[in-house]
Subunit: 339 residues, 2 copies
């Protein structure tokens, strides 16, 4: 068998990005005619097949599930993996995990590798760079070939497939309401830029709660960091320039770091300032004070996505129907808010 | 091609454990003659090949590295993975991660799956169950076939291969010394049973430091939990029954949980009681007070193990020599000890 050529190989050979190759093969208008012709000619010459066409995948079950997620530094994703493993292992499936590390290129490379006949289907959560680029051709490629795909948590409307999400808007709404009910007047939001689907929804929920209570939305109280990665300087500057009495953070790392900052300034939590975070992880449980959080039920999300995927893999049904399951988040009250 | 039969299939078919099949095929004395004959006959009948003999692996590079680790709930292992990815990606290799979830069976199943031609070599950290059983046949199988293997952190002397470890005895010794120098007299150790290689070494380091300072070793001050998983009740009982003025814990989760317990009893850290943990993760950095720790340099360990593996994969050298790299841990002093 001749060696297979991948998107990555073409990109390297022609000295363009993987995204460009992917778009050029799809005849995207974003790419110049010259580049498109070059890429397409090269692909033809080397007999490129999208995702190496996991040949006759339907007939040859591997009993492996490929999981591609952005990062494992966040407790949330580790619980999603745990849930996937729990359900999949019980059904006799193995789970292979690849990390995109929030990179579009790594996401594509990992998918190409796994789609090469190693797995029966994908469970994925999009990298932040993929959501920023808005380039989902590598996902469409997979679904068009009939490889089952379930998107979990970070999803897109651009790809038709099964999805499992949590109602992030509701989560932020409930959290903000809680802070308002406790008499907080200056409620901050520490989140990321809106290109991240979950952050956008959470910002909407936060604003909705404020508007409902006839409170002004003060944009200076909303800190939008560029990624979910820790940005100590960004958060320090925010607290230097803002006088707030409550903070909602989109992950637990931002929350515990912020709490340490205000504690070092001599403030008491929750007397002077309240905190609510997203994700009910170890940091939240063992922080001092322990964190009031919006629990995202990652393990449950993982289990459901594994179930949806395995159902698709084992289904004899030729007709394609897709579902989106929306879970409700739960407010878990601990010491970082007034009881 | 005929479907390949795996250890797991044989175990299921004959209703014995995977470990039994593995030992029977190795003609182990631990297994009854009857069982051995059955297993061997079955394996012959179905043409079983160990690890599906990753055929001509030497000639067909996949540029994939298989990583099998016990768990990702501990920050340490996530940093090891990060280090592996960093080095491997820079060298053009992809990383596939499988979790054993501390289970021997899952470790074997994952290895069988990956050894099936998907990867060029393994980086592994042993599951606690594997270390408890002391059954390393699945690793020997891999090395005997010439598939490069690097063991990292949780290793065994029973398998000849490259290894990357941290000097755990030294780490515990340095930490205990620090506590002694600060005038602590009743120093506790919260660890796991000795079958876990790292716990055994740390217990030795702790005892060595006490003996050197002519302090008695009081076994009642050593809590040996059954696994690295959280055991809240075990730790609660320990603090109920023991009056100590310093605690060394083998991971950061045990440490932050213990700190919360004594804080709730009204003790001040570090005035009344000091804490040192292993692993310099997010929990350690953002705990209140922040944790003095023995940093294990997980990222560095990951990078080195990836380098050792890729060197082996790409080496033309037929002669097999193995190295063990031992890193030195570092004491990072923060607020949970007196400065």
């Amino acid at each position: 068998m001749k060696p297979k050529i991948t998107l990555k190989d073409i990109a390297r050979e022609l000295e363009v990005s993987i995204s460009t190759v992917s778009k050029a093969l799809k005849n995207s208008e974003e790419i110049s005619r010259d580049t498109k012709e070059k890429v397409q000619a090269f692909a033809k010459l080397y007999n490129y097949k999208p995702n190496n066409i996991a040949i006759s995948l339907k007939n040859k079950r591997t009993k492996n599930i490929g999981v591609v997620i952005p990062a494992i530094v966040h407790h949330f994703f580790t619980t999603v993996i745990r849930g996937i493993e729990k359900y999949a292992n019980a059904k006799g499936y193995n789970v292979i995990v690849c990390l995109s590390e929030e990179s579009f290129d790594r996401e594509v490379i990992n998918m190409e590798m796994l789609a090469n006949g190693s797995i029966d289907g994908f469970i994925m959560s999009l990298s932040s760079e993929t959501q920023l680029k808005g380039d989902y051709n590598h996902l469409k490629e997979v679904t068009e070939q009939g490889i089952p795909l379930v998107l979990v948590d970070r999803v897109t409307n651009e790809v038709e497939c099964d999805k499992v999400i949590i109602d992030d808007e509701l989560g932020a709404y409930v959290a903000t309401k809680k802070l308002i009910e406790q008499g907080r007047k200056k409620i901050a939001l520490i989140t990321t830029d809106d290109y991240l689907s979950v952050s956008k929804a959470r910002t909407e929920g936060y604003k909705k709660a404020l508007l409902e209570s006839k409170m002004d939305i003060d944009e200076s109280r909303i800190l939008k960091l560029s990624t979910m990665e820790m940005d100590e300087q960004g958060i320090q500057d925010f607290f230097k320039n803002n006088d707030v009495d409550a903070v909602l953070c989109v992950n637990e790392i931002f929350t515990v770091y912020s709490m340490r900052l205000v504690q070092n300034k001599g403030l008491n939590i929750p007397e002077d300032i309240s905190f609510i975070g997203f994700t009910d992880g170890l940091l939240s449980q063992y922080a001092n004070p322990s964190l009031t959080v919006i629990a995202q039920h990652g393990e449950k999300m993982g289990e459901i996505s594994a179930q949806m995927l395995i159902d698709k893999v084992e289904s004899e049904d030729e007709e394609e129907t897709f579902q989106t399951k929306i879970l409700e988040p739960t407010l878990v009250v601990r010491e970082s808010t007034i009881n």
